[in-house]
Amino acid sequence: MKHILAAWMRDRPGVLNRVTGLLSRRNFNIDSLQVSASEEPGISRMTFEVSGDDRTLEQVRSQLIKLVDVTRVESFAQEAIVKRELALVRVAVGPDERRQVLDLIQVFEATVEDISRTDMLIQIVGREEKIDSLIGLLRDYHLLEMVRTGPVAIVRSAMANVESEPALEPAGDTWQGGGV
């Protein structure tokens, strides 16, 4: 089972190394990892996904919080969070196919960031499944290059510390994954 964790840490040299080193030497299976600034100056926020049962999750949490530079660790119930990824995809698209690709982009609420006679640079933001779907469809064309972040996540405002209640679905975010 996948768990989403966030860890807050002092922005010190080598802190990323400390965290990733810990995770690898403790044999935890990390699916993705994102580091960014947090709302607090001097504190970075790391979001990562861990595969494993609840006991593994508890071990990851307890081992992480032991690191002197790590100030806080939270794990999130999947339904209580807003989770987003971003992908940038370059596809070889000539003028003949451009219309088809633009249709796809529109359906997925993706954007065209750059375009030339031979290719197109597409940006998509959303849930993992949505990005997977678009990339799957774009593979029908010649996918030249791709870069993709792991998910970042934040607790919904009404859901903070209330994992048992169902998540509120904000309007316009009803994507359920899968093909269109």
Binding site: M9, R10, P13, G14, N17, R18, G21, L22, R25, R55, E58, Q59, S62, Q63, I65, K66, L67, V68, D69, V70, T71, R72
Partner: protein
Amino acid sequence: MHFPPDHFRTTAPPRRITGSEMIWDACVTEGVSLLFGHPGGAILPAYDALAIYEAEGLLHHVLVRHEQCAAHMADGYARATGEVGVCVATSGPGATNLVTGIATAQMDSVPIVCITGQVPSPMLGTDAFQEADIVGVTQPVCKHNYLVTDVADLPMVMKEAFYIAREGRPGPVLVDVCKDVQIAEGEFRYDMEVKLPGFDPYPASWQDALADAADLINAAESPLIMAGHGIHLAGVSDVLLRIVEKAEIPVVTTLLGTGNITETHPLSLGMGGMHGEAYANEAVQACDVLIALGMRFDDRITGRLDRFAKQASVVHFELDKAEVGKNVQPDVAVVGDLAETLPALEPLIHPNTHAEWLASLTDRKLSSAGKDILTFELDELVPPFVMRQIWSETTNLRDPGDVLVATDVGQHQMWESQYFVHERAGQLLTSGGLGTMGYGLPAAMGAQMAWSDKLVWAIVGDGGFQMTMQELATIQQEKLPVKIAIINNGFLGMVRQWQQLFHDKRYVGTPVLSPDYVMLAAAYGIPACKVEEPGQVAEAVRAANTTDGPYLIDFQVKEEVNVYPMVAPGAAVDELIRRPHIVQDHGGVVPSF
């Protein structure tokens, strides 16, 4: 130069000094008086500054012959005193040589601070001469570490280093100081508060679980305590003894928990685990409530996890939350400092007797002790006999509380734990977690530096001793009266035992050639003797104990003797390999090896 009277108070006024002086001022203010180290280029300014502190009698530097031993000596000192041990090394190879010692201290929760020199900060990352990224190298094996590139950071780093090493579950902290930082001047003060929002050494939310723990213990019909290193670290063996006697609960210890209660106590079952007494392991598999105190369910104590104490409810008292549920999922976890939780538990425990349970343990003890443990004379020189003799001769002469023992790792280590009768917690210094060969001698030296009036024995094998025997020179240079017993069986004994039992006696890489240890000792000016017959043991031990200074005994023991009982790796703790058979002899029951 003389330091003013209040110079080393925490509240001394700020002063402008060099980074090197900051290191030593911090050490002295922290109560350090001994440094174990080896100089080199990148730490030279610090050594230069040390002269005054040595001349003033504030710090004494012990020159080791290999930096690994500096860490082990600091470790031995720390285990023997409960204070932070300090070791010093230069950059590059000096620092990397410390790594085994740091990892040893980390696995066994020993507070040491390691100070290393580093190349000047402008040269960092250039593969400069003797540059090694020691902070990167040691990150996985220490509690925390620092690279100091600005002298302004140094006072706080030193203060944090000692604080982190000492507080909570202790461990090693490394401070890597660039050479230019040692030379630079800055303002030194030591009255600042350590603010580490990510470091919570003493979890305090254990009160709720305590009542549940007490309920389980009070309702138990066959309770068993498994007491680990945490009892000694928290200094609560007296509380443990009161609880044990009040509720009549037998105690099994881990290797690092030996002596948590006096091993002559009727409720002591001795050590459990891979080479624990059979009845101790049987008790683990028969109890209804297992009360684990300050231990981490290492594989050497649990054997096969999915068959470890499955019948029992488990109560786990532990300071480090990450150890709770790591290997064994407890029914009740009391996460907090044993110095707080155990005294709080004491009044909640009802006076009780467990006559039936204890009688069943006594039966188990009688049926197993004679089989696996030797207490009688033998015709050949076998290690268990040597161990018993060293202990009895030594404790005939000195109060057992005044005797400290450090061991290496392997068969002799297990025999020590089986045949010495530990009287108090912390009496045995041994590398339990990492299992570091070569640890025994330097650890004994560190302990002897701490307690010049105690009798310190280093019990080592011929394999491990040859890893660190260069420190005989340090013994002489420091005039340390350490007594050394080499259990010399011509093999890496424990590996050979595994080869015999699990690899069809293919003794690959285990026969060990030794030098003539008596001649070797003589080369260092250390008196020594060789023992080949059982009748010579007592006299040799007496000679060692009454010699004013170090003494070395080369016990040339029977070669292929095994440690029994044994839980094979991957087996359950009650699936024991027992001593094969016993032969009746005119001198009594003599086991056949």
